[in-house]
C-alpha cells in the first residue's frame, strides 16, 4: 500500500519452484512465493499443507531439493538458519525462542552487546538502548528483569524488537497471537503497521480469519504441498478462502458417499453427556455440549478453533478455568482423567504415537492398559482375564497382528488405532471422544474405523467426533457443532448437515441458517 506504483521494488524474499521431499513424501511441490518490501502476506493452509516446511526453507532450516531462493532478484542460498538471519529474514514463533533467565536487555543485545573501551559490556548503555528500543513498541518495562518474569505478549514483543533491531527485512510470524491478550494483539497489530511503513515485509501465519483479513493484503494458499491460490484478500470472500484451504468447491456438492458412514438415528433418550460453559483462557470460551446415547455429534472447526481443547476439557486432560461436565446427571470432578474415565468419558487422543500407544509394549498390554485393575485379583494381574478381553476385541475390531504378544509399534497405523479403541471399549464407556480417529491410516482401515463408529453409536454410545476431513464430519455426524476462535459459532442439524452449510459456518456465519451473527463483533 505504501509503495509507489511507479517503481515496483523487487521481492525482498522469493522462493522459485521450490520442492522439498521427506523420505519420498513431497512436502513442497514446485512452490513459488514472493514478498516485496512493506508488504504483508498471509500464508494459509490446513495441517500438512506445507506451511511450516516452506517457512523452514525460507529461514535456512531446510535446504530445498529443487528450486532456489532469491533476494532482490538475486539468487541466494541459506545453508544454515544463521545465513537467513544475516540476510535479514527473522522468524517469530508462537513459543518465544529467547533465553528466559536472561534479562530483557541481554536478550535484545545477545551476541552484540555494547562494550566500553576495555571490551567489557557497557550495561548502562545496553539498558538505555533497550529502553529506547522497546519504547518504540509502546512497551515500558524494567529491562533488567529476567525475560520469563514478563507476560508472554511482552516476551513476544521483545523477540520482535530483537529481530527488527538486527536489520530485519522480512519478519515471519507463526501464530503470533495464539497466547496474547486482546490488548496485546492490538499492540502487535500497530507494531506490524509501523514495521511495514519502514519497508519491512511481513509473512503472517495464523488460523484466525479475522486477523488475516485485518493484517494482510495478499494471501498465498497451500494445499498438499502446492500453491493453489495467490491473490488479494480483499477480492477473496472467507468462504472461498476456506474452500481453497480444504480443497472443496463452494458450489453445491452432492453427497458423495466417500466414507463408510451410514445414516445414524439418535434416540430420544435424555443426554448422557452434558457440558456447560467450558472455558479456558485463550483456548475455549463458554462451550456447551450435550450428547444423547447413540448420537454422533461432529465437532467442526478449522485448526486452532478449539476442537481438541474441547475434547481435552471433557476428558479431564486439560484443566478448565470454568465449566462443568456431567454424565447421566452426575457431575464429574474437573481436571482429572481417572475421574472422567470412572464416569464413563474416554478420549482417543489426536497424536496416537505420542499420547496413545505405548510403543514398546505388546498389543495385549496396550489393550488392557486402562483396564488392568479390573483384570486383576488384588493387584496380581490375571492372564486369563486379560486374554479373554484381548481376544474379544482383537476379533471384533479385526486387529491384524501376528498375535497379542506382537509389539504394537510393528502394527500399521490403522491397527494401532483399533488397539486404542479396544483399550477404551474394555472400560465399557458411555461417552467416546474421538480426535481425528482416521488420521494417518490407510483407506481400508479408515472405512473399518468409520463403520465401527457407527456400530458403537448404534449400541448406545454417545460419540463426539473431531475430524479435519469435512466429509467425515458431515457423513459421520447427525449433528455438527461448529467452533470458531474457541467459541461455538454455529450448530447444524438435520438437513443442514452438509458440506455447503458446514463450509459457510466455518467461514463465519454467512449462509448458515440459524447461525449467530455475533461472531464478527468480537
Amino acid at each position: 500500500m505504501s509503495q509507489s506504483r511507479l517503481d515496483v521494488p523487487l521481492p525482498v524474499l522469493e522462493a522459485r519452484e521450490v520442492t522439498k521431499k521427506f523420505a519420498g513424501v513431497t512436502a513442497l511441490n514446485s512452490v513459488d512465493f514472493a514478498i516485496r518490501p512493506g508488504e504483508s502476506v498471509a500464508l494459509m493452509g490446513e495441517n500438512g499443507a506445507g506451511k511450516s516446511t516452506l517457512i523452514k526453507v525460507l529461514t535456512g532450516v531446510y535446504q530445498p531439493d529443487a528450486g532456489r531462493l532469491a533476494q532482490d532478484g538475486e539468487a541466494v542460498t541459506f545453508a544454515r538458519p544463521m545465513d537467513a538471519q544475516r540476510a535479514g529474514v527473522s522468524t517469530i514463533y508462537q513459543e518465544v525462542n529467547l533465553i528466559p533467565l536472561m534479562s530483557v536487555a541481554q536478550n535484545i543485545f545477545l551476541g552484540r552487546e555494547p562494550t566500553n573501551r576495555i571490551g567489557l559490556i557497557d550495561y548502562k548503555r545496553m539498558y538505555a538502548d533497550a529502553r529506547t528500543l522497546l519504547a518504540n513498541y509502546g512497551i515500558t518495562v524494567d529491562v533488567r528483569r529476567p525475560l520469563r518474569s514478563l507476560a508472554l505478549g511482552i516476551q513476544q514483543m521483545v523477540a520482535l524488537a530483537r529481530a527488527v533491531s538486527i536489520n530485519a527485512r522480512v519478519v515471519i510470524m507463526d501464530e503470533p497471537t495464539s497466547s496474547l491478550e486482546v490488548r496485546e494483539v492490538e499492540t502487535l497489530f500497530s507494531v506490524i503497521a509501523m514495521l511495514r511503513e519502514q519497508g519491512i515485509a511481513i509473512v503472517y501465519v495464523s488460523h484466525r480469519m479475522d486477523e488475516i483479513y485485518r493484517v494482510c493484503e495478499r494471501v498465498v494458499v497451500l494445499r498438499d504441498g502446492r500453491v493453489v491460490h495467490v491473490g488479494a484478500l480483499s477480492e477473496l470472500p472467507r468462504v472461498d478462502l476456506i474452500a481453497l484451504m480444504l480443497g472443496r468447491s463452494t458450489e453445491k456438492i452432492e453427497r458423495t458417499g466417500v466414507t463408510a458412514f451410514t445414516e445414524t438415528s439418535a434416540s430420544d433418550a435424555p443426554a448422557v453427556l452434558v457440558a456447560r460453559d467450558l472455558t479456558r483462557r485463550h483456548q475455549i470460551d463458554g462451550i456447551d455440549v450435550s450428547i444423547r446415547p447413540g448420537e454422533v455429534v461432529g465437532l467442526g472447526g478449522l485448526l486452532g478453533s478449539g476442537r481438541s481443547e474441547t475434547l481435552k476439557g471433557l476428558a479431564g486432560v486439560m484443566q478448565l478455568d470454568r465449566g462443568q461436565v456431567s454424565v447421566d446427571g452426575k457431575v464429574v470432578r474437573a481436571g482429572s482423567v481417572p475421574a472422567a474415565i470412572r464416569a464413563g468419558i474416554v478420549m482417543l487422543p489426536e497424536d496416537r504415537k505420542a499420547e496413545g500407544i505405548v510403543p514398546n509394549l505388546s498389543v495385549r498390554d496396550n489393550i488392557v492398559l486402562a483396564a488392568l485393575p479390573r483384570l486383576s485379583n488384588k493387584g496380581i494381574s490375571s492372564r486369563a482375564k486379560q486374554d479373554a478381553v484381548v481376544d474379544v476385541f482383537m476379533r471384533r475390531l479385526h486387529i491384524k497382528a501376528s498375535g497379542p504378544d506382537q509389539p504394537v509399534s510393528e502394527l500399521s497405523g490403522g491397527n494401532q488405532q483399533k488397539v486404542m479403541i479396544a483399550r477404551w471399549l474394555a472400560m465399557s464407556p458411555k461417552v467416546l471422544l474421538l480426535d481425528e480417529p482416521t488420521r494417518g491410516i490407510d483407506v481400508g482401515a479408515k472405512a473399518e474405523v468409520q463403520a465401527l463408529i457407527d456400530e458403537l453409536a448404534a449400541e448406545g454410545l454417545a460419540i463426539l467426533l473431531v475430524s479435519s476431513e469435512i466429509e467425515e464430519v458431515v457423513e459421520g455426524s447427525s449433528r455438527v457443532i461448529v467452533l470458531r476462535d474457541g467459541a461455538i459459532g454455529a450448530e447444524l442439524s438435520g438437513p443442514d448437515v452438509d458440506e455447503e452449510h458446514l463450509l459457510a459456518a466455518l467461514a463465519g456465519g454467512a449462509g448458515a441458517d440459524g447461525a449467530p451473527e455475533s461472531e464478527d463483533a468480537r
Binding site: G356, V358, L369, A370, L372
Partner: protein, 321 residues
C-alpha cells in the same frame, strides 16, 4: 517399518542378538577364561565368595532397574546404605528383627522424599536423587557422629558371614528371594505393568487414567527399601558400621549392571534376568582382573568401556527399529 537392505537386516539382527544375549555371552567367555587360566577359580569357596560379594550391588540394581524402567534414575541408593549402617548400632540392642524394620522404614522414608520430589513436585529424577545422595550421607554421618562402630550382634553377623548348611550363604539366599520377588512384581502385578507403561509413554499412561504419581512414588520407595537391605547385608559382612564409605559409588555399579543387562535408560522395559547377569558380569570382570594382578584402576576403566559398549548396542537397536 521401513525397507532395509539385506546388509542392514543382518547388521540389525546381530545388534538385536547382542542386545538380548551380549551380557550372557560375555559371562560365558569370562567363565571359560577363568576356568582355563585362573588358579583355584573353580573351587567352591571362591565361587561362593564371588556370589557373596555381588549381593549388595545386585540388590541395589534390582531397585535401580525399577526406577530406570519408569525413565528415572536413583542416585541416592549409596546414601541410603550409609543411613542403614548409621542406624544399626543405635537399635541393635532390640535384636535383629526390630533393627531390620527400623532401618527399612528409615530408608523408605528417603525413597518417599525422592518419589515426592519426582512424581508430585516434578523435579528431574537425577536432580532429586542427587540431592538426597549428598544429604543422605550427611544425615548418616550426623547420626553416627562421624564414628566407625563395630557391630558384634551374632545374628546380624550371621546374615553377612554364615551359610545354610555351610553351602548357601544367607545373604545370597536373601538376594535370590528379592530377585524372584522383583521378577514377580514386574511381570505378574498390575503395579509392575503400570510402572513399565509409564516408562514407555508417561503421557499415554496419564491419558489412560493410570495413577502415575502414586506408582512413581512407590517405585522410589521400593528402590530405597532394597538399598536399606543392601546396607544391612553390607554392614553385617564388614562387622562394622561405616557410614562414611559404605555404598560409596555403588549407584554407578548398579546403573551399569542394569544397563549392560539390557534394560534401556530410556525406560519402558525392566529385565530382571538381565540385571542379575549384569551384576554377575561386573563381579567377574573385577575378580578376573584382580586374580591376574591387574590394578583396580584397570577394572574401573574396563567397566567404563563395557558401559559404552552396552549403550552403543542399545542405541544401535533403536536405530535399527
Amino acid at each position: 517399518m521401513s525397507e532395509v537392505t539385506v546388509r542392514g537386516v543382518s547388521r540389525a539382527t546381530i545388534l538385536v542378538f547382542f542386545q538380548r544375549y551380549g551380557v550372557y555371552v560375555a559371562i560365558a567367555i569370562l567363565l571359560l577364561f577363568n576356568i582355563a587360566f585362573t588358579q583355584n577359580f573353580v573351587q567352591f569357596d571362591n565361587l561362593r565368595t564371588q556370589l557373596v560379594q555381588v549381593v549388595p550391588v545386585l540388590i541395589i540394581a534390582l531397585g535401580m532397574a525399577l526406577v530406570i524402567g519408569t525413565e528415572g534414575i536413583d542416585l541416592s541408593v549409596g546414601a541410603v546404605m550409609a543411613l542403614a549402617a548409621a542406624i544399626i548400632p543405635l537399635y541393635i540392642g532390640y535384636g535383629l528383627g526390630p533393627v531390620v524394620v527400623i532401618v527399612i522404614v528409615g530408608g523408605v522414608a528417603i525413597g518417599a522424599l525422592n518419589g515426592t520430589m519426582v512424581a508430585i513436585i516434578g523435579v528431574q529424577p537425577i536432580v532429586a536423587t542427587l540431592s538426597l545422595m549428598v544429604a543422605g550421607r550427611g544425615i548418616a554421618l550426623l547420626i553416627a557422629n562421624e564414628q566407625l562402630k563395630s557391630v558384634v550382634d551374632p545374628s546380624l553377623l550371621a546374615v553377612g558371614r554364615d551359610s545354610i548348611g555351610g553351602v548357601l550363604p544367607y545373604s545370597v539366599l536373601i538376594a535370590v528371594m528379592l530377585v524372584v520377588g522383583v521378577a514377580l512384581l514386574v511381570n505378574r502385578t498390575t503395579f509392575g505393568k503400570q510402572l513399565i507403561a509409564i516408562g514407555g509413554s508417561r503421557r499415554a499412561a496419564e491419558l489412560s487414567g493410570l495413577p502415575v504419581k502414586r506408582i512413581l512414588l512407590f517405585t522410589y520407595m521400593i528402590s530405597a527399601g532394597l538399598a536399606s537391605v543392601a546396607g544391612i547385608i553390607g554392614t553385617a559382612r564388614l562387622g562394622a558400621s561405616v557410614p562414611s564409605t559404605l555404598g560409596n559409588l555403588i549407584e554407578l555399579s548398579a546403573i551399569t549392571a542394569v544397563v549392560i543387562g539390557g534394560t534401556p535408560l530410556s525406560g519402558g522395559q525392566v529385565k530382571v534376568g538381565g540385571v542379575v547377569a549384569g551384576a554377575l558380569l561386573l563381579q567377574l570382570i573385577s575378580a578376573t582382573l584382580i586374580s591376574h594382578n591387574v590394578p583396580d584402576a584397570y577394572s574401573q576403566i574396563t567397566q567404563a568401556i563395557i558401559i559404552l559398549l552396552a549403550v552403543y548396542i542399545q542405541r544401535g537397536r533403536a536405530v535399527a527399529r
